[in-house]
């Protein structure tokens, strides 16, 4: 097994003229309006975690915008320069100036876009910063850590330079762990399975250094019986070219994943818990690649969906400690995933508290916009994270969950620097721990009874009152009373006569009860407890009118 060190590739360094042209090429209508409408009113100041933590006026978003705006103004090749040649040409962009600009757009902004919400004009600072970052990247001024990440990604197909063989081996290893964990020798993590419904894409961090996260997510997929596949070739969801502003590289990287989705025939891409990865695929890739025939879903969204539709069952009692949730900017503010993570966590843990503020107004962890890869700005990064540290302290939580690998690393660092004494975890870890997998009960006679993944009896012939009570406990219904038994007997009788399920309103009418109140939760609950066989993909309802008897 030989592996070549991924040589960082050659890149063209832009001349002054090209830098100027690049800036102008980025000047679309939005950017122009932003520059013209910024009143420097400073309402954005308090929204920026950099400014709140340091009080340094150079950290105010309006100041940062001004630095880029000044640059643009000088690039304008308007009539004035022709009419008055004594106006200094001032294309500027000398070394010193570029360095200063670099500090502003890379070091003092994480492109979290919180100021956009506070701005009366709705100015998107993230967009402005990205334009300036693109120019600096062209000038070879982008921070080395960030640029290396992009270069390795373009070169090897993932941002940590893992080869395909190593990736497949790691997945196989986690498949074994999954089989041990679930006790199911048929549990699989499919790779390159053509015709699967979803393509699952990962963050190299979990494959290379934290593979148990991969297993946690696979466990959730397994419990839900999802049809999904990994790709052995391009499986990396991240795209750091979103942060260095290089559209060409960004297009290449986004194209890797979409190419695999086409190859494997998946119309939906499920992104692992990665904030910017989801955002770039969902909102930017359609623009870069000029196509929109694919769907992108975040992992929290998928899990919330499983919970609401009853595809997985969770027991929050295993996570007793107080948990809070950090909203990754790219997911909450730029992706509108606000309710989903809360649905997931409220079902996975006993004690959930929100940060103040949270959701759309949440503060950036401080590591966004690729800041985590830029060692040179670590001081500012940690300083600005004071806001987040105070937020976490105020909740008294013992566990901080988040659904972004970048936030996780920054939060871990905050935890140490500010001595928070919390545990930082991925949301999927809590959910995977809480998952209730198919189980086996023993009757008082000692005979085993198996319950399937969806909560139906594996062998319906074994049904009796003891089993029914066990199933009811499984569904958190509690002790079955006379009215419950009446309904269960009716359902079983109906099913044996018609070989189909009675509509709930039919039961209500015939027995004069309220089934949904007796058996709260999913409508299937009553049929599970009645010991009916697990239906296939489609439930066979006996849809004869309710009047008909």
């Amino acid at each position: 097994m030989t592996k070549a060190a991924p040589a960082i590739r050659e890149r063209h360094q832009g001349t002054r003229e090209e830098l100027s042209n690049f800036l102008l090429s980025k000047l679309n209508r939005n950017l122009d309006v932003y520059f013209q409408t910024c009143q420097r009113c400073g309402l954005c100041a308090d929204s920026c975690h950099y400014y709140r933590a340091t009080g340094d006026p150079k950290m105010i978003p309006a100041y940062k915008i001004e630095q880029v705006r000044k640059l643009y103004q000088r690039q304008r090749k308007d009539w004035r320069r022709k009419a008055s040649p004594w106006i200094p040409r001032g294309d500027g962009l000398d070394e010193e100036e570029l360095q200063e600009l670099k500090d502003v757009v890379f070091g003092r902004c994480t492109m979290c876009r919180r100021c956009t919400l506070n701005c009366p004009m709705g100015i998107d600072t993230g967009m402005i910063m990205r334009a300036a970052r693109g120019m600096l990247t062209l000038a070879h001024k982008a921070p080395k850590g960030l640029q290396d990440t992009v270069d390795i990604h373009v070169k090897t197909g993932n941002n940590m330079g893992m080869d395909s063989e190593e990736f497949v081996e790691t997945v196989k290893w986690m498949e074994e762990e999954l089989q041990k964990d679930t006790g199911d020798p048929n549990a699989k993590i499919p790779i390159d399975k053509k015709g699967a419904k979803h393509l699952w894409v990962l963050n190299p961090r979990e494959v290379k250094f934290f593979p148990l996260l991969l297993q946690a997510q696979a466990k959730i997929f397994h419990a839900a019986g999802e049809s999904y596949t990994l790709s052995s070739k391009y499986w990396d969801v991240t795209n750091y070219a979103l942060f260095n502003g290089d559209d060409k590289d960004a297009t290449t990287i986004a194209g890797y994943v979409l190419g695999e989705a086409d190859r494997l025939g998946c119309d939906t891409i499920i992104c692992t818990e990665c904030g910017h990865g989801m955002r770039q695929l969902k909102y930017m890739a359609p623009i870069w690649l000029k196509r929109s025939n694919f769907k992108v879903r975040a992992f929290v969204e998928v899990v919330a969906n499983y919970i609401q539709s009853g595809r997985i069952r969770l027991n929050p009692a295993v996570n007793k400690e107080r948990v809070t949730y950090h909203d990754p900017c790219n997911q909450a503010r730029s992706g509108n995933y606000i309710e989903e993570p809360r649905i997931v966590l409220r079902n996975s843990v006993m004690d959930f508290v929100d940060l103040t503020p949270h959701g759309r107004n949440n503060f950036c962890c401080g590591g966004g916009g690729g800041a985590l890869t830029m060692s040179e700005y670590r001081k500012w990064r940690i300083e600005a994270a004071k806001v987040k540290a105070d937020q976490i302290k105020a909740t008294g939580a013992k566990i901080v969950a988040t659904s972004c690998h970048n936030c996780i690393d920054q939060l871990t660092e905050i935890n140490r620097q500010y001595k928070l004494n919390v545990k930082v975890v991925n949301t999927c870890e809590l959910t995977a721990d809480a998952i209730v997998l198919p189980r086996r009960m023993f009757l008082s006679t000692g005979a085993p009874v198996d319950v399937g993944e969806r909560g139906y009896l594996k062998n319906p012939a074994l049904w009796n009152h003891e089993v029914a009570q066990f199933l009811a406990n499984n569904e958190r219904i509690g002790e079955l009373k006379d009215q419950h038994w009446q309904v269960l007997d009716y359902v079983r009788d109906y099913n044996s006569r018609h070989e189909a399920w009675p509509l709930p309103q039919r039961i209500d009418k015939d027995l004069g009860v309220n089934v949904r109140r007796l058996f709260p939760g999913s409508p299937e609950v009553v049929f599970k407890i009645a010991g009916l066989a697990e239906p296939g993909d489609q439930i066979k309802w006996h849809a004869v009118g309710v009047q008909d008897s």
Binding site: M160, E166, R205, P211
Partner: protein
């Protein structure tokens, strides 16, 4: 780039504490770096096995080894690796082994 004193030598490090002059790495430097990163100090035999493995792998392939290789080649349990270096194999063990900061979300 800031400098710091490790094992009596001035060594250039980046702000995250990864050394920038790989030639100056030595066992003593590793022990000094391990003061913050390792679970025990001085490092145990297992710690050294891990660190040496990471270093050899890096010299051979130019990248940090994936955690699967760490476990498989050294017969370590995955949990044990995280216990030895609480910050994880990337931010912890790689730093002690004198590697540059790995790319990506680390």
């Amino acid at each position: 780039m800031p400098k710091t004193k490790l094992a009596g030598m001035e060594i250039e490090i980046d702000e995250d504490g990864f050394i920038q002059e790989p030639d100056k790495w030595s066992k003593e430097v590793a022990e000094d770096l391990a003061k913050e990163e390792s679970s025990v100090h001085p490092m145990s035999e297992d710690h050294w096995r891990l660190v040496n493995y990471i270093r050899d792998y890096y010299i051979k392939f130019g990248v940090a080894p994936p955690v699967r290789m760490l476990c498989k080649q050294n017969k370590f349990e995955l949990k044990y690796v995280y216990e030895m270096f609480p910050k994880g194999p990337a931010a912890g063990a790689c730093k002690v082994a004198g590697l540059p900061k790995p790319t990506g979300c680390v």
